[in-house]
Symmetry: C2
Subunit: 248 residues, 2 copies
């Protein structure tokens, strides 16, 4: 791997999620965005799920935005009393937040088109932290926003995905992260020795070992990740030679 090549940008996802912390629902947005980020060469390094609490959201935003190139948030930008993400992000950056005319106009046009009342609660969704850029929401109009390196998006999965589609073309990625997997029908403990040697030899790649139990039999998925296809191919060939009778 060339030493001079620039490292890929890094990212964290912050999910505002009493709903997930309570065990009631399973997160879908994290899994979706993780795949998209890897595809465009942004390295997802951390995910945090915090409760719908002003101080928790603010603290997480501040910790993550200094540690990573991008922070993507999901949830808490709707019209109800528990939608407090925009305020918490404004507080984290210590900037003002108020109704913004372009966001208000987007909402007004949407409700007019759909014969819906543009009431006080809905007007809350036009409150945008000062200095932010809007993220388009083609489904229900209420925009997300980007403030410096923090991208605030809705929690409803199809709206979240639409916002991700609006946002990602704006971001500069790196070399896509590639991976190949070899399934080995032996327990991790049997293969750990030679696998560790191989990981050391290919230290420019990441060799992950993921054990599983299937019908009472122990097996292991070895996932080789990196951004150099030829190096991954080389490591996979060596791996397949080390452990024949395996499935790719």
């Amino acid at each position: 791997m060339s030493e001079s090549r620039q490292a890929n940008p890094t990212a964290a996802i912050l999910i505002v999620g009493d709903e997930i912390l309570s065990g009631r629902t399973r997160d879908a947005n994290m899994h979706y965005l993780a795949g998209e980020l890897n595809r465009i060469g942004i390295a997802l390094k951390e995910v945090r799920i915090v409760s719908d609490n002003h101080r928790s959201i603010m603290a997480a935003v501040n910790a993550l935005r200094v540690a990573f190139d991008h922070v993507f948030t999901s949830g808490g930008i709707g019209p109800t009393h528990d939608d407090i993400t925009a305020d918490a992000i404004a507080a984290a950056f210590d900037v003002a937040i108020g109704v913004r005319e372009d966001a208000r106009a987007l909402l007004a046009a949407h409700y007019d088109r759909n014969g819906m009342e543009f009431n006080t609660a809905r007007l809350r969704m036009a409150r945008i932290p000062e200095g932010a850029e809007l993220i388009d929401n083609p489904i229900s109009a209420a925009p997300g926003f980007t403030l410096e390196n923090v991208h605030a998006m809705a929690g409803v999965p199809n709206i979240f995905q639409a916002m991700v589609a609006s946002l990602l073309p704006r971001l500069t990625g790196g070399r896509p992260l590639l991976s190949q997997t070899l399934r080995i029908m032996r327990g991790e403990g049997t293969i750990a020795g030679p696998l560790g040697d191989l990981a050391e030899e290919f230290s420019d790649l990441s060799l992950g070992s993921y054990p599983f139990v299937m019908n009472g039999v122990f097996g292991t998925n070895i996932v080789i990740r990196g951004d150099d296809a030829a190096r991954i191919d080389a490591a996979m060939s060596r791996l397949a030679m080390l452990f024949p009778e395996t499935e790719t």
Copy 2:
């Protein structure tokens, strides 16, 4: 709600998860444990997913163990080169780690029983931070451990669940967190005003509003959470009166 009643213990989950951050797999352990914790009255407040990296794991353990009563970790305690959670936890607490006789004996008996080789890689799984208590693993013998308020468990879902079953009876919970849900076939923006008033009136409960889109129609699930069944019933009655023609 009586002012003198003790608050429930709090918890965080830390998932060591390159596998999830890469978008390749979806987490199952978090969702499972969230449900179990709520059932026994331990309030899950935060989840972090970090990459398989010594410093990231150590930093997260140290941040979470001071902020919450319990920290549950998932993943990274197997026999391969990428299993570094036990070392990272030992480093976080600044205690030594080495092969422990009781853990070694558990593994030796298991491999003997199953005619498997007890090799150097597998011996790594007997490395336990000083001062820790073992967590029983009835499936593949390699134990988890509790060090002060940090509980380290395996990442393979059925082993994780077996360890949770071994561990939870040791922990002191609180009043189970209860919840009731009302599905309202109206958009969040329509109901936000009266809902906010109700949330203020029942400020001892948590009223969450979760919008969804189903066959192009906007609806909202209102989830009322708390530990006092009578108060939840009262809030639900008021909610149903506010928004008739809804489904529970």
